[in-house]
Symmetry: C2
Subunit: 396 residues, 2 copies
């Protein structure tokens, strides 16, 4: 085990009917709230009404900032920063999934400074202070409800940029009511499961530490639970236990526990995916399904054979003794499972032709450099080589 | 999964050489620290000197309160409260294991009120505010370094009393350096492993929820890791990976994660053990080894067969299909493992004669009532029946 600091102060309120607690929780942080949400699904499923009523009953004045889209844009977050400043809000309430929460985090960070928020993403500035953030989670996938990171797409360059954990950006309170996720469609349920698994697996597959049984079993246990719960939920979208397990597992998947003690980790599948959802606006979890399969196929041959084999044996039921053979069998089992739940597994699913690989590779190489992981062998050649394993491709 | 609130704000600083960070961490909380420690082992292994130097270099004035014994006494904590008040300390630094940390928590709670600290243990008062606490952990077992509970023995009645989690008592910072545990003797290493496992297993064995795969695998994974790490450490007391795994696993075992979402749990093995360490002053983990074996033997026949069988299959390697037979085989495997690592397994090991059972039972029945778990069938008859399964007994 390697040295680490773990400090996750987010309060989680979990259970059916908890949405109405948002007002009581928020009033501890101020009198005027910026309510950030998305494209309107929270209005059709009734969650918006519950949140507004609760905030109003708690005496908070509400300024609304709707319209956050999935794969959220830096420009839209900037406009939110301006609104938060103009309205002098005390607190931000994010009602949504990772896109809404990450936009809200940028607003929290940007509202208390003159620094442009892009600086927090390209690491020319750090978030030293921020408005307090509370979240009401509606899509369990990103884990942003219990961590200090955020992801936004720079719409000028189509680079989807992610930050490290900034301590001021851990939500003060996150409310997780599994019943609000009943209306997530089957495809997004599958994409979300893949997203949560990637947060667990990228560190697990790529880390190099000598002995990490606590973290390994933590990851393996959560992945098995996500897989079981996804299947229950796809069979019955209002299965409370399945939805609850997906929700808590997605939060536990990216709350710093799986990575504490395993040493420096990096996120190769996220690096490979970000340009896909930035350029083609596909769901992030769908893109991760593709890049997890391609990256593991590459890494099993090149760098992380034993770790990929370990996962194959411990959660995919592989009994093969040889590491490379076990890894390959595990990847194929994972591919079949992703297909079964209805996630993407190749560029054809995402509508991406092979001829776009050079264009995508250029943005990925930029991320490899920005995130300081070129040392792991990620250059234009190796990156485009991995993308060439993402076939079949869209017909041209 | 059941509803829950999870909020654990303790910052963990983990790794070799981290003890010297205590000064930097503590100075954020004040200028005058009460340094609480035990019977002197921290002076012989050098940790005391590191802590004092670090606090002094950070500019803190130190008031010392040494002499906390294992199975710590309420009277000694009360004296600490008086000292903290008299010296008007700003912050408490606990240097030790669970006994020192729990004494320190009582001091933190008692120093800011006129309420006698026993009221926090018999639930006639609650801890609303407290001095800030930081810990430097030297014995990984109790988990108190990352939770809000505490245990003290009322020396007037010999009742060992425990509290619920009081939010103000979560340590602000806990420093976990595995190398300071190299000098823990083999027997206490074994007792500590048993103690940590009991924190995970009592809720796992006794809860009644319908589907908790996340929590079940969390518990199973940590238990397996504790067992492997205990064996590594007993074979080589300075095995860093073994010590590090025991340390982080013991913290993770009792930081509210294993119990979040499983509904109300209770601690029958702790209830049965507390009178043993209170009356006979045996190590708490040694007593828990005995009561875990006796309680599971009772519960397998009476109330929690399936859960005990599940653990037997998932971590003890039992393949038996029948639940009761699997449970019994698992308990026997656990007994053999506890014997192998050198923990206690019966009253004879603890020097307790069978004729004392009535006396012990009286105090246990008091705890069952105080903790509100008589509804689970714990009365003098059932309790003494469980103790009668703790043989062989001390010769009389």
């Amino acid at each position: 085990m390697k040295d680490f600091v773990f400090h996750n102060p987010t309060k989680i309120v979990f259970g059916e009917g908890t949405v109405s607690q948002i007002g009581d929780e928020a009033r501890a942080y101020g009198k005027k709230a910026l309510l950030v949400y998305g494209m309107g699904s929270v209005k059709t499923n009734g969650v918006y009404d519950q949140v507004v009523s609760s905030l109003q009953e708690a005496g908070l004045e509400i300024v609304e900032y709707p319209g956050v889209k999935s794969n959220p844009l830096m420009s839209y977050a900037r406009d939110g920063v301006e609104l938060a400043k103009k309205e002098q809000v005390d607190v931000v309430v994010a009602l949504g999934g990772g896109s809404v929460i990450d936009t809200s985090k940028s607003i929290c960070a940007g509202a208390v400074t003159e620094t442009d928020i892009i600086e927090f993403f390209v690491f020319t500035s750090t978030v030293e202070t921020a408005l307090p953030l509370l979240t009401v989670l509606t899509i369990p996938a990103a884990g942003s409800e219990m961590n200090g990171g955020m992801v936004l797409t720079n719409d000028e360059t189509l680079d989807k940029l992610g930050t490290c954990n900034y301590p001021p950006l851990y939500p003060r309170v996150s409310i997780l009511d599994p019943t609000v996720t009943y209306t997530i469609p089957a495809d997004y349920t599958a994409f979300s499961a893949a997203d949560a698994m990637s947060h667990l697996l990228e560190g697990y597959w790529s880390h190099q530490d000598e002995w990490t049984p606590i973290q390994d079993r933590y990851v393996e246990g959560l992945c098995k639970s996500i897989m079981e719960a996804a299947e229950r939920t796809l069979a019955n979208p209002t299965d409370y236990q399945g939805r609850a397990t997906l929700m808590w597992a997605a939060t536990m998947a990216f709350n710093d526990l799986s990575s504490s003690g395993v040493g420096p980790i990096y996120f190769p599948c996220h690096m490979l995916e970000h340009p896909l959802s930035a350029i083609y606006d596909i769901p992030h979890g769908a893109g991760l399904s593709i890049t997890m399969l391609a990256w593991t196929a590459y890494a099993a041959e090149n760098c992380n054979t034993a770790r990929i084999a370990q996962l194959a044996r411990n959660i995919m039921g592989v009994t093969e003794d040889d590491d490379l053979a076990a890894a390959k069998e595990g990847i194929e089992t994972f591919r079949q499972w992703l297909e079964k739940i209805g996630s993407y597994t190749c560029f054809a699913d995402a509508g991406i032709p092979e001829s776009d690989i050079d264009k995508i590779t250029e943005r990925t190489a930029f991320l490899a450099d920005l995130w300081g992981i070129t040392e792991h062998g990620y250059n234009a050649d190796s990156i485009s080589g991995i993308y060439r394993m993402c076939g079949p491709f869209k017909d041209e």
